[in-house]
Amino acid sequence: MQFDSFSAFLDMGGYGFFVWLSYGSAFLLFAILLWSSLSGHKHTKQQIIKKLNRDEKLRQRAQQSSAGVEP
């Protein structure tokens, strides 16, 4: 262990601001990237389900009108 106390660890020998600025911004960017990737994947699946439901409705309506039955 290179540091005597937690405050010495945060201080980083006087360079605390610069060290934690770089690690903090990296953590933030990774968090945003991971979150957007996961929510983007979910969003993609939801869009496909929406499209499937829309296609299904169109197909049913086409069948009904070709059978001559009014809904």
């Binding site: 540091f3 980083m12 911004s25």
Partner: protein
């Protein structure tokens, strides 16, 4: 080898293979980064000139090398996509670009935060820094081209061409510290032979580097899966997959 590789060109097989890899990569990345960052931030000895500010090294160097590594991977995928018309390669390019852009941004930000106390300036128009900034713009260009077309094939082609042309920037970044007079120091760990640092500083770096590499793999895999789905919306296996997953969550 082609016979062995061929099934992986099938989007459905790739989707499920990648899905199986994601949790393993995530666990390995978490473990390596925990060990590497604790070791690097708490136990590695301070640098004799730079003191504790050198601990930015454990973030800056992996981010910078991976920003170039991911670009190389992306360019290889773009090449395969353009030459052999592999649809999956286009999906891989689109998946890698945002991840590479984030690694480049982190390399630039951590470099600025390291440059301020050591060089006295956040930014300087120096060969290494400028070429790394161009790398960021190349990534952003590939992302923009990928989203500029409704047609996924046209988007993949134009983004692939930009990615391939941009490869010229990689040797420029790598050798910028040797070709030009620059503030940026020369290579420390990526030299053939022995790294020029003591081993108790070097080992935590190896953990951090591999940890960040696996982290990038996790995010690329997630984005690759989304891309595969978007490329294959009309396929029966995609329909089946999303309906099964929707029913699972609805119950």
């Amino acid at each position: 080898m082609w016979k062995w590789l061929h099934p992986y060109a099938n989007p459905e097989t790739s989707y499920h293979l990648v899905g199986k890899l994601i949790p393993w990569f995530a666990v390995v990345s978490g473990a390596l980064l925990t060990i590497g960052l604790f070791w690097g931030l708490l136990f590695a000895p301070p640098d004799y000139q730079q003191g504790d500010s050198f601990r930015i090294f454990y973030l800056h160097v992996p981010a910078a090398s991976l920003s170039m590594g991911i670009y190389l991977g992306m360019a290889i995928a773009a090449f395969c996509g353009l030459v052999w018309q592999l649809r999956l390669a286009g999906a891989a390019v689109a998946a890698m670009a945002p991840v590479g852009a984030v690694f480049t941004a982190i390399a630039l930000i951590s470099g600025a935060a390291w440059g301020k106390p050591m060089w006295g300036t956040w930014w300087i128009w120096d060969a290494r820094l400028t070429s790394e900034l161009i790398l960021l713009f190349l990534y952003l260009g590939v992302m923009a081209l990928n989203s500029a077309f409704d047609d996924k094939i046209a988007a993949g082609k134009s983004a692939g061409i930009l990615a391939l042309v941009g490869v010229i920037n990689l040797p420029i970044i790598k050798y910028s510290v040797e070709w030009w007079n620059t503030l940026h120091q020369g290579a420390t760990v990526s030299k053939l032979g022995k790294p020029s640092m003591t081993l108790d500083m070097f080992y935590p770096f190896v953990f951090c580097f591999l940890g960040f590499a696996f982290l990038s793999a996790v995010i690329i895999c997630i984005r690759f899966q989304s891309q595969i789905l978007q490329h294959n919306v009309t396929r029966p296996w995609v329909k089946k997959l999303v309906t099964v997953e929707e029913n699972k969550h609805a119950v």
